[in-house]
Subunit: 386 residues, 2 copies
């Protein structure tokens, strides 16, 4: 198998290109789940296409853990992280729909998060930032849409952490959303995923440069965040996808035979070199404290909490719902998603399920864009959205 | 499901009980794969049962990554790591067989490894220790058996890294071994497993206490080794086993609701508490540099290397061979083991395959001892070993 390198990591454009994005600054009535109120927040967002005069064509796209508002290139030169799904003539067609994508609350790509200045002293919040939840992200997104004059969403779509937001949209804003697509996202974070997230947080905290969160941007916990990303990347692949891509191939130029080239940090196998490359890339574009907060938000995710459990939450859904499982996903196995689908059906939700057949694991929704497009288009067509 | 805590971690007896073990010190002709010669080495081992006068009842058990020579309790009070499989009246019956189990070369439970004194200066080898391979471990085991006067093995058995050794025994010592049981071990280390191992090594190296390997026993890289163990433990479980055991259960005493209890290191979820507990346990009984060397030995494992590939290696096997896959193993999926079995069959090996059906993942060979016993007993019976 040959996978094009650029396509395999579409969201990881580390080049510093000026991105057109707008900010909404306001003092919203945004009471967080933890009980605190952040006061003034900034939401960085981008829009693509034109809002219809009757406001009937708005679509919200929610990004995954290390994503941002740049879902597609739009007028900019930089490719977006879902370029092949969202754009002119794509499954989510920006000639027809007004697409909004914002950076999540707690993120580090323009929206208020741990890097933002604390109103009291102007220093970064760092670990003083209050814990946030997926529901808080959705509240911030809702606020943004209100400011943009959007009164109804034709569609909310997202994968992974974006899929969690999509599910919360379905539950929290039953009358506001017509269609929801949640890809590779469970109804509640699972044990193993919590375990991986905890390992990643500890990797960051183990780096002496983390300094309890008080690092300067010039001296960030690069090794710790890089190590966290390495763990994450394994969970986004599958056994098969790694085997197909790297096998036991060694880094060229090393001595042959069984001898280990040493411990000094030179990777022996190509798969190690790949992980280190991913580590180097993430530290150029992502903030370590944000990584801690967003992974914790995922752990706290459970649509059933405070709503009479999973079925109680699903009963509140009025939107047409598409759940997509990925056949080789080791982080959120397709069986988990199928199980959520059956539960949704059992309480009368207009729920649909699709299996994205791919060897590429969790990240297949970003990588295998052809079958991903077909699944989305099928759902759109049947719902009169195309 | 209820799993008894003690049974779930049978090899992790951290109590400092005096273990009867013998040492063999010698200056063997043990040329390592890397080309170096360690000179004098110590092999810590234990034996159980009596060697028959004609030497026809010797069995070798090989341990996994963090195991040791204490496979069963024998005369000691401390339970062994495979207590329910090896012992009087067990599947591998110590009333009938003379069972030998040694700590691997490069280990830290008595045998020569990175903690051992370097002959030149008496300080620990630390990272000056030469890289070792699974084949080197087998050579050291062979040497031990020679010193013990054992000229033939009725059986070699092991799981995980122990299964890798068993496979190497089958290939390297075709005339010496009658039967081989390799459990949850592939014919060559796979990409994803290399990736996890690299992450674990980097966790150790990220700990400032590691000091390029020059830590003192009192100031070892506890957090780094602990973090490595946390990663390892996830891969030894399965999605299902973690979900069954921990679900989304929270640590008692924390505030209710969605608020995060803070970053100060208090786990929020029981699964996190479990992982931290495992981290605290490993640092009491295992050496960080050893962890680095042994995981690298696993990465370098490929029975086909230098032997004309996998089929070339399998052709050298004369022993009767049982390969066991575990249905929920995420580290070495059962399909991988079944594939190795088919290859072995295709070149005429007297190969057998058994699927251990268990939700407990890779560690099921240590945990689900009843079906594990049945599989081993079946193989023993059909081979006239019972």
């Amino acid at each position: 198998m040959s996978v094009d390198q650029e396509r395999l990591v579409p969201w990881e454009q580390t080049a510093k290109v000026e991105v057109r994005f707008e900010e909404i600054i306001g003092k919203p009535a945004l009471r967080l789940d933890c009980g605190k109120n952040l006061g003034k927040i900034v939401i960085a967002y981008e829009t693509f296409g034109e809002l219809a005069p009757d406001g009937s064509n708005a679509v919200l796209i929610a990004h995954a853990l290390t994503g941002d508002s740049h879902v597609t290139r739009g007028d900019s030169l930089r490719a977006g992280w879902w370029e092949d799904i969202v754009g002119p003539g794509k499954a989510i067609d920006t000639r027809k729909y007004y697409v909004v994508c914002s950076n999540v609350l707690g993120g580090c790509s323009g929206s208020t998060g741990p890097c933002s200045p604390h109103p009291k002293d102007g220093r970064p919040y760092a670990m003083r930032f209050p814990p946030i939840t997926i529901r808080d992200m959705v509240r911030a997104e809702r606020l943004l849409l209100q400011r943009l004059g959007i009164r109804r969403l034709r569609l909310v779509a997202g994968g992974s952490m974006g899929g969690m937001q999509a599910l919360e949209w379905a539950v929290m804003a039953g009358d506001f959303v017509d269609n929801v697509i949640a890809i590779a996202a469970p109804g509640a974070q699972q044990s193993q995923a919590i375990a991986f997230n905890e390992v990643m947080r500890r990797a960051i905290m183990l780096d002496p440069a983390w300094r309890d969160g008080w690092y300067s941007p010039d001296d960030a916990p690069r090794l710790g965040l890089g190590l966290a990303r390495m763990v994450g990347m394994i969970t986004y692949h599958s056994h098969l996808s790694m085997d197909m891509r790297f096998g036991r191939e060694r880094v060229p130029g090393l001595p042959d035979g069984l001898a280990w080239a040493g411990y000094k940090g030179d990777p022996v196998f190509q798969v190690e070199k790949y992980l280190h490359h991913q580590a180097e890339k993430i530290v150029k574009r992502f903030d370590a404290n944000s990584y801690i907060y967003l992974t914790r938000a995922m752990d706290l995710f459970d649509i059933g909490e405070g709503r009479g459990g999973m079925l109680g939450a699903l009963r509140q859904i009025k939107a047409r719902l598409l759940l997509v499982g990925i056949s080789s996903d080791i982080l959120y196995p397709a069986s988990l998603i199928a199980n959520l689908y059956r539960k949704a059906q059992s309480v009368g939700v207009d729920a649909h399920f699709a299996l994205l057949r791919s060897p590429h694991g969790h990240d297949a929704f970003l990588l295998d864009t052809k079958p991903m497009s077909e699944i989305i288009e099928d759902f759109m067509r049947k719902g009169g959205l195309m």
